[in-house]
């Protein structure tokens, strides 16, 4: 059976050498040309690539950015993450619904607009925001919306709208990431050393992974290098998806050279010829500039064949765009996604450094980690190790959002207390600070003396501030909703558990819970934490687990039981319809 777009699909697949490994790119291009991936397209694409249809469907049905039904000419994705809702995303959403006359998930009759919600798009410091045709709009006000719709209808480009402006919001420049740099200097220093010595220098710096887990970078590179294999890969994890984090957006905008410099050094250290940057789909608007920087670096001899004239070192970088799946920030899920599959994490061992991309040894490093590595090769491990604390050397880029005067990105030394940070960003009357995003920890005022560091309060960079007038548990509930949306579904505790947790928490927040419900909530949360397959699952119950003790009063307030009993079912009310229908209306039943 042939369909009318078969030729188009053939051409797209051909562009990628009909390689199944490029299924993500092929799917992206198909969506760009056809607007969506129908069942017909799934069948055609499977046929063209000579793979089972069920595998194509498996992959495309996983990602938010591969629609399965036809969408409108303009796709509006309003971000409804926690900070955005604190800053009025609900009102903006309503304004869009009103202006378009459709609800979320629907397309206007004239097929001009589809209205959708999306998770955090990395713009919490200028919330509320939205992506229209992948172009970001920021600081939206409900009153802006009718004009925006009219402008698009009259043919104006989204990028020409006044709200299409991403502020840099770099509020504090530190000495590691934000210092001035001379392209190529760190690479030349590295190339004057043996790869083992480069790893030694990183070891001296005591650099730890900036994604949040804090694994020693030198150890990771060393493991990877020592694997017996002729092919190794270096991957830069730029899938910054943790709600409330946007520091990579700033790094990739302002310091792309530093990132690529770090990737090249890492490639040299582990013995890789190919580096891949996995860039989250929501940051597609950064792609053009990043490609330009890569081209410039190739031109300067800092990428490609024989880097800096060295016969024995060639290394190049390609950028892979994601397609809207938080779990792909998990390194093994990221690798699955890179291979053109659903982003389901792998069981470990084997670890990616043993069997990663295409089953070859692979080092996956955070954007910021690679920046630090470049600096270390520029200024020395000794220099780096003197910044920060003993177990957390260097600086940390923090994305600060929520209830404070100066939201934005701050490069601070490790070891800063929450108290000092709150002062720095102009936060007053603070009820709680969410450190590390939805999967992180909700910190109560009694702990504001604690320090941002691997040994105390680790974070990938997300800091969300809630002032005292906020209904904190409602925001925790929204975090739980986020995990329901983003669970990959592979394992039971995360797939079913997050939904059950959401239901139980809702019941309690609605005043329909008993002390028994609280025990149930804890039981579900513990099961998710201890039994889930990957980091996403294991941390998805944290919004509950980190508030249930420190904010016990907030839960207790919602429990309205007497003598261990709670009226959750109103018999009279439930029977009213039936009684009326039967005509047996008695006194007292209203």
């Amino acid at each position: 059976m042939t369909h009318h777009y078969r030729e188009q699909i053939k051409n797209i697949a051909n562009k990628y050498g009909n390689d199944r490994g490029y299924l993500m790119n092929i799917a992206r291009d198909i969506v760009k040309e056809l607007g969506y991936i129908s069942e017909e397209v799934v069948a055609d694409l499977a046929d063209v690539l000579n793979i089972p249809m069920v595998q194509v469907r498996d992959m495309v049905s996983f990602y938010s950015f591969f629609p399965r039904k036809t969408l409108g000419k303009n796709v509006i994705r309003v971000c409804n993450a926690v900070i955005e809702r604190m800053k009025g995303a609900d009102e903006v959403s309503k304004a869009f619904e009103k202006a378009l006359g459709v609800s979320f998930g629907e397309t206007t009759k004239d097929n001009l607009f589809t209205l959708l919600h999306t998770s955090c798009i990395g713009l919490s410091d200028q919330a509320p925001g939205a992506l229209i045709n992948n172009v970001p709009l920021t600081n939206l006000k409900p009153t802006d919306i009718p004009q925006i719709i009219n402008d698009i209808k009259s043919g104006k480009n989204v990028s020409d709208l006044p709200q299409s402006r991403v502020l840099l919001n770099l509020k504090k420049e530190g000495e590691v990431i934000c210092a001035p740099m001379e392209s190529g200097k760190a690479i030349r220093n590295a190339l004057n050393m043996k790869p083992e010595e480069v790893i030694g220098e990183i070891n001296k710096s005591r650099l730890r992974g900036r994604g949040g887990a804090g694994f020693p970078t030198a150890m990771k590179w060393d493991f990877c290098r020592k694997q017996k294999s002729s092919v190794r890969y270096l991957i830069c994890n730029a899938d910054e998806g943790e709600p409330g984090t946007f520091k990579d957006r700033v790094i990739l905008t302002e310091y792309p050279d530093l990132v690529f410099e770090g990737m090249t050094i890492a490639g040299y250290a582990i013995g890789a010829k190919e580096g891949i940057m996995y860039l989250r789909g929501e940051y597609a608007y950064l792609l053009d500039n990043l490609e330009k920087v890569l081209a410039k670096r190739r031109h300067l001899g800092l990428l490609g064949e024989h880097i800096c004239g060295r016969e024995d070192f060639s290394f190049d970088i390609r950028i892979q765009l994601g397609a809207g799946a938080y779990v792909c920030g998990e390194e093994s899920a990221l690798i699955e996604s890179l291979e053109g599959k659903r982003g389901a994490p792998r069981d470990r061992p084997p670890f990616p450094v043993q069997k990663g991309y295409k089953n070859e040894p692979t080092s996956v490093n955070n954007v910021e980690t690679l920046c630090c590595a470049a600096r270390i090769l520029e200024k020395g491990g000794e220099w780096f190790s003197k910044i920060g604390t003993k177990d957390s050397t260097g600086t940390k880029m923090l994305s600060v959002s929520g209830d404070c005067e100066h939201p934005g990105v701050y490069e601070v030394e490790y070891g800063i207390t929450i108290e000092n940070l709150l002062e720095l960003v102009g936060a007053k009357n603070t009820q709680a600070v969410q450190v590390g995003g939805a999967s992180g920890k909700c910190v109560a005022p009694k702990d504001f003396g604690r320090r941002i560091s691997f040994e105390d309060l680790p974070t990938g960079g997300s800091i969300m501030i809630f002032s005292k007038n906020r209904d904190l548990l409602e925001y925790m509930y929204q975090f739980v909703e986020f995990f329901v949306e983003e669970s990959c579904g592979w394992c039971v505790p995360c797939r079913a558990g997050t939904t059950l947790l959401e239901k139980k928490l809702r019941q309690i927040l609605d005043g329909k819970g008993t002390a028994q419900s609280l025990a149930e909530l804890r039981r579900i949360a513990q099961t998710i934490k201890l039994m889930s397959r990957c980091g996403l699952g294991q941390t998805s119950a944290n919004p509950v687990l980190t508030t249930i003790y420190d904010f016990a009063d907030l839960y207790a307030e919602r429990i309205k039981e007497e003598d261990g009993k709670l009226m959750t079912f109103d018999l009279q009310k439930a029977m009213k319809v039936g009684i009326e229908a039967s005509g047996r209306i008695k006194e007292g039943v209203k």
Binding site: D347, G489, E520
Partner: protein, 238 residues
């Protein structure tokens, strides 16, 4: 000690095993039952159900994928793990639509048998009552997703044993479902009722048509003995 043997303990019992085995395989070999649902001997492990979670040196890991190692301390039959595993089975009962009394596979269903073995009573977690699709298009088999636990056995069996790719997954999170290799149901796939993938389903999700109750109730595998006893009663001679 030989290089080809590693020694470790499971609940304090010393276990010897070849070094290339997983904890679950090594336990099976010596007659120690680690509860499991998605694992099936002869298939690569899927890591879906997490029922076989044990603690290795205090840390929860998946027994069907975690390799044995010299000196590791494995906890299996503890009250904590027992209740965590029961919680997972409970999650599956409220996630799907399982009606044991009227189900053809009652008594040979591994989900039901695990619920008995782990002493699950009436679920306290909220039922989800999800809408799930039934595929009865195939002349000889039907696929009732209401009973599916997404163990992925049919997916793996079709790929690795039948070399066919009849099954796969679709969607993510709570919307994840078993999907089939056609645009229009099982009838357009090359599945036959004799395929290995048809015999691996732990529940009554994949069933052969016109073949109900061939084993009478009372004579089904788990009617008299709990699940796992086939491993525990194994004679150990190694």
């Amino acid at each position: 000690m030989s290089m080809n043997v590693v020694t470790f303990t499971i609940d304090g019992v010393e276990v010897k095993s070849a070094p290339d085995k997983t904890i679950l395989q090594a336990a099976d070999d010596v007659g120690i039952y680690i509860p499991r649902l998605c694992y099936l001997k002869d298939l690569p492990p899927g890591g879906h159900c997490r029922v076989c979670t044990v603690k290795v040196n205090g840390r929860p890991v998946n027994a069907c994928t975690y390799p044995v190692a010299e000196g590791i301390v494995v906890e299996n039959n503890t009250e904590e793990l027992h209740s965590l595993r029961r919680n997972i089975i409970e999650m599956l009962f409220v996630e799907g639509n399982h009606f044991c009394p009227s189900c053809e596979v009652a008594g040979k269903c591994e989900l039901q048998a695990l619920a008995y073995r782990l002493a699950l009573l009436t679920p306290q977690m909220p039922y989800l009552y999800a809408q799930k699709e039934l595929d009865a298009t195939h002349p000889d088999v039907y696929l009732d997703r209401n009973r599916c636990v997404l163990c992925g056995r049919c997916v793996r069996a079709s790929i690795y044993l039948d070399k066919k790719n009849v099954f796969g997954f679709e969607n993510r999170g709570i919307s994840m479902r078993i999907s089939v290799n056609s645009n229009d149901g099982l009838k357009d796939t090359n599945l036959t009722k004799d395929d290995k993938s048809m015999s691996v389903c732990p529940t009554g999700c994949l069933v052969v048509k016109r073949q109900g109750f061939t084993i009478p109730v009372g004579k089904r595998p788990y009617d008299k003995k709990p699940i796992g006893s086939e491993i525990e009663t194994k004679t150990v001679n190694s």
